[in-house]
């Protein structure tokens, strides 16, 4: 095995953030008072990790603004579900509306922040998150393309590499695209990265990691401005 492959193998065995910790870090990106949509997967965990001092209003594309926590056992109402079809609760003042209005909000720039899962993000901020080439079945877009096109700020939460160790942050997406130049920030189990006009800027790295190691597992160049701090979870 060449030295670089040995090094990469060693890196893949190094501890990374858990899915819950990715969600916890992404929660710090939400500003107080924001209208927020959370997608499937890791983004959906963010609601459990909101800093106490901030209030955000959750939008669900099936037609809710002011969605509360998930329903506890005995509390479930299957007419009141989120976009993952899981029974939820409401906060006071919540409202319901039809699908067309729900996506008026996503496309029209009325969501301050949307957080989606991702299969690949390119250095230009292109997102691929709805179909894996060669996978069985039809794939499904859902609300992701509307959200990617319209959210004021789009954060993608995902693992930094695939199960096989291939980078998910790449020069050019090879999976079917969800949207062009739509991603603003990427939060992974290794790093927080901002998509800037000059390229991908490495803002933070996971505890115990250094920028050069993160770069080894990234398919596009990462820019740094001075010392890159470690992700700090409260």
């Amino acid at each position: 095995m060449p030295d670089s492959a040995v090094q990469e193998k060693a890196l893949l065995d190094k501890p990374r953030l858990t899915r819950e910790q990715i969600a916890q870090r992404a929660a710090f990106e939400l500003p107080d008072g924001a209208y927020v949509n959370l997608g499937w997967g890791i983004p959906n965990l963010i609601a459990d990790y909101l800093p106490k001092e901030i209030t955000v209003y959750f939008h669900s594309e099936n037609g809710i603004l002011g969605m509360g926590r998930r329903a506890k056992p005995g509390e479930e109402d299957y007419d009141l579900v989120d976009a993952m079809k899981v029974p939820v609760t409401l906060i006071p003042g919540a409202s319901f509306f039809n699908q067309a209005d729900a996506h008026l909000m996503t496309r029209g720039g009325h969501l301050d922040v949307a957080v989606l899962g991702g299969f690949q993000v390119s250095e230009k901020g292109n997102l691929a998150n709805w179909k894996i080439p060669g996978a069985k079945g039809s794939g499904g877009i859902g609300g992701a393309m509307d959200i990617a096109a319209g959210a004021k700020k789009l954060i993608v939460c995902m693992e930094h590499v695939t199960k096989d160790g291939a980078p998910k942050i790449v020069k050019k997406c090879t999976y079917p695209l969800t949207g062009l130049e739509c991603v603003d920030t990427i939060v992974t189990d290794l790093a927080v990265i901002d998509v800037q006009p000059q390229g991908l800027v490495l803002r933070e790295v996971a505890p115990g990691w250094i920028p050069a190691e993160v770069q080894k597992l990234t398919g596009a160049a990462l820019l740094t401005k001075g010392r890159v701090p470690e992700i700090h979870l409260r």
Binding site: E61, D79, F96, N98, Q99, I141, A149
Partner: protein, 219 residues
């Protein structure tokens, strides 16, 4: 005036022909007009074009119609992780799928209802969704042309209705907001049925332009 209130489900769907284009309300497992779907299964209509957010959950919702091979084309945004009957038919090429971004799906239905011949959007630009569609730059943004989706019928699920006196129906929470109020505004005839047999509500058949559907519910 055409009869609007029926005492049984099979009578409501009696004149739905083979080859009909039908919009179905509902999102995931919530809000699908399951009683009407079951009536279509009993009737055995074929060659249906369905317009729906999802493609069923196992035997639930549209799953039954795929199992029965009654749907040959579906326009949907998210077939869903448990749409096994759909996926089997899709793999066997017995059903074709037009995959549409969710908000664009309902906006195309709304365009049909609103008498619009289409609209331009940035959604889907540069993706598979844009293939074969006219593209132009508007306000400095790349956009694609999306055309309306029409239907012959819209099937929705109501929480309760005043079937005897008028044709109002109400929905409940997120059950309806799905696609119901978007689809039901189209010129399709809207068929709706209460969600539970034995409920006091009579079955309603609602004529186009004669209903006030699903006022926005309070939380």
């Amino acid at each position: 005036m055409k009869k609007k209130v029926y005492s049984n489900l099979d009578e409501i769907v009696a004149d739905v022909p083979d080859g009909a284009r039908i919009m179905f309300g509902g999102f995931g497992g919530a809000g699908f007009p399951n009683n009407l779907i079951q009536a279509l299964v009993r009737k055995g209509v074929k060659n249906i074009t369905a317009i729906s957010n999802n493609c069923g959950t196992r035997d639930g919702e549209l799953g039954l119609m795929f199992k029965n091979n009654q749907i040959t084309h579906i326009i949907a945004s998210f077939p869903g992780p448990h749409a096994n009957h759909f996926q089997e038919r899709f793999a066997a090429e017995e059903v074709t799928l037009e995959l549409v971004p969710q908000g664009i799906l309902c906006e195309r239905m709304r365009a049909a209802a609103a008498g619009l011949q289409g609209f331009y959007t940035t959604v889907g630009v540069g993706t598979e969704v844009a293939e074969g569609k006219e593209e132009r730059v508007l306000e400095g943004k790349r956009c694609i042309l999306e055309k309306p989706i029409h239907a012959d019928f819209a099937f929705i699920k109501a929480h309760h209705g005043h079937g005897r006196k008028d044709d109002h129906c109400r929905s409940r929470r997120t059950r309806s907001p799905g696609f119901d109020r978007t689809g039901a505004r189209d010129d399709a005839r809207n068929l709706c049925a209460p969600y539970r047999a034995g409920e006091r509500t009579p079955l309603c058949r609602i004529a186009p332009y004669r209903r006030k559907l699903c006022s926005t519910s309070r939380a």
